[in-house]
């Protein structure tokens, strides 16, 4: 790959403490979309790809980065993580001072994610919490959090193209683009009818039943469009029979993600924006209907 493809916005992908999952997701995006991306942007650096320049060279050069994408959590504690002897906090800040837009790719970069649960190092954070004061204000736009574990490649592309063309995106309280995160994973789930009539799936992997009461599905309280922009254009967790584990939310990863927390058999949390009393009385009634069709296999 070559630096300085004229007139194309420059994109740099920086990796901090990560499992590489967002890179995997990104690289498995749809071919045409990836081609469009590469034709429209100049990806000057990604640690998993062969490029003709090092991170150090970029930092020392006067090159300007349009879009700085960051994968992974950040720490200033070099005992736990450093790259070529430098902490990720330092490298991040050096890169940000050359960048116009800063985009967190994934939950770890957004809020610290799984790594922030590591008890031996209290200084593991998301990028917003790792910026120097100067850098907080030097950017053209507030930090954009593309949450998810991993992020859907399409969310990255849509963000980059929107910013390239319109220069701004509306963000929600958690810094996520509203356009991508306004809905819930529950929207478009093929199990909605089972949810309505409270027919539960008894095990993973079945086509039938909803995963809300028994298997911890967070679809009704998780902002994402997974069931509308499908993964690999084919499927999603909930369609295939695995509960949504709420990977786009601030509290991810939670404990016991495949269980529905209950009090005396009553779900502790109910779908977003619904009063618990109303929800319980509705579900109590819904459960009294036995719709034979919903208790049968979809395909005999």
């Amino acid at each position: 790959m070559r630096l300085n493809q004229k007139n194309k916005p420059k994109v740099l992908w920086f990796q901090a403490i990560t499992c590489n999952g967002n890179t995997h997701s990104f690289l498995s995006s749809n071919d045409n979309r990836m081609k469009l991306f590469l034709d429209s942007f100049d990806l000057i650096y990604h640690p998993s790809l062969s490029v003709d320049i090092s991170l150090k060279d970029i930092i020392e050069s006067d090159v300007e980065i349009d879009f700085l994408l960051v994968e992974g959590a950040i720490t200033s504690n070099e005992r736990f993580f450093s790259i070529s002897g430098e902490t990720t906090t330092l490298l991040l800040n050096q890169l940000v001072s050359k960048s116009k837009y800063l985009i967190a790719v994934g939950s770890c970069a957004s809020y610290g994610g799984l790594h922030a649960k590591f008890e031996q190092n209290e200084d593991i954070k998301g990028i917003s919490d790792s910026l120097d004061v100067d850098n907080l204000y030097s950017l053209n736009h507030p930090v954009i959090n593309l949450t998810g574990c991993p992020v859907h490649p399409e969310w990255i592309f849509q963000t980059l193209f929107t910013l390239k063309d319109y220069k701004k995106m509306h963000l929600d309280e958690e810094g996520r683009p509203k356009e991508l995160y306004y809905g819930l994973a529950h929207h478009g789930c093929t199990r909605n009818e089972y949810f309505e009539w409270k027919v539960e799936s008894k095990t993973f992997g079945l086509k039938e039943g909803c995963l809300f009461y028994e298997q911890g599905c967070r679809g009704p309280m998780t902002h994402s469009n997974c069931n509308k922009i499908l993964w690999n254009e084919v499927n999603t967790k909930t369609r295939v029979g695995m509960p949504c584990i709420g990977c786009t939310e601030l509290d991810f990863p939670r404990d016991n993600m495949l269980e529905t927390k209950k009090n005396i058999g009553i779900p502790d949390q109910v779908p977003l924006g619904i009063n618990k009393r109303a929800y319980l009385s509705l579900t109590g009634i819904a459960k009294t209907f036995k719709i034979d069709r919903l208790h049968k296999k979809l395909i005999d």
Partner: protein, 196 residues
Amino acid sequence: MSAKEEKKNTIIENSLKLFSKNGFYNTTIPDIAKSMKMSVGNMYNYFKSKEELAKYAIKYSTNVLAIELKEINNMDISSKEKIYVFTKRYLQSVKKSPEVIEYFLRVYLSNREVFNEGCEGFLCVSEFVTEVMILLDDGAAKKEFRQQEFFPAFAMFMGALGGFAFLSGEKVLEKDVLSYSDAVAENIYRALKYEA
């Protein structure tokens, strides 16, 4: 409430008394009309059948309890206190209007065939069941109650109260029904209580 609804409620209140005293099958629409000093024909303007009246009556009588429990659920007191307050109010209504509770025990629970259609499951008692759910959920979330399955907890709560109403109805209690209130509440609380 419209005049028609008020009238409906008075009919229900009257029929609750007759149903719980004489039983569902021994009470006829003419009996109810007579007790209301109404014509039988006029009765049918309010309820098309005895079955329909019976279903309305169960909704009516559990709503009385649901409203009480909802008010208690919204109080800023511990879950233990909620049990004490509700038990007291429940026994007060057993004393004051025994027909409401008796109807539940002697008609609703023992003539299930009447309620098969339209009152399946919790359909006719859902408002009250919901309030019990709120009470239990809240207590367990605050770690005042231990975690357990819903139905055993529900049965513990309702069983103790219903059983006591039954004893009162059979007139076997030695003392005034209300004087047992705290002891009954304590039993319910102990069955639900959080254990560290």
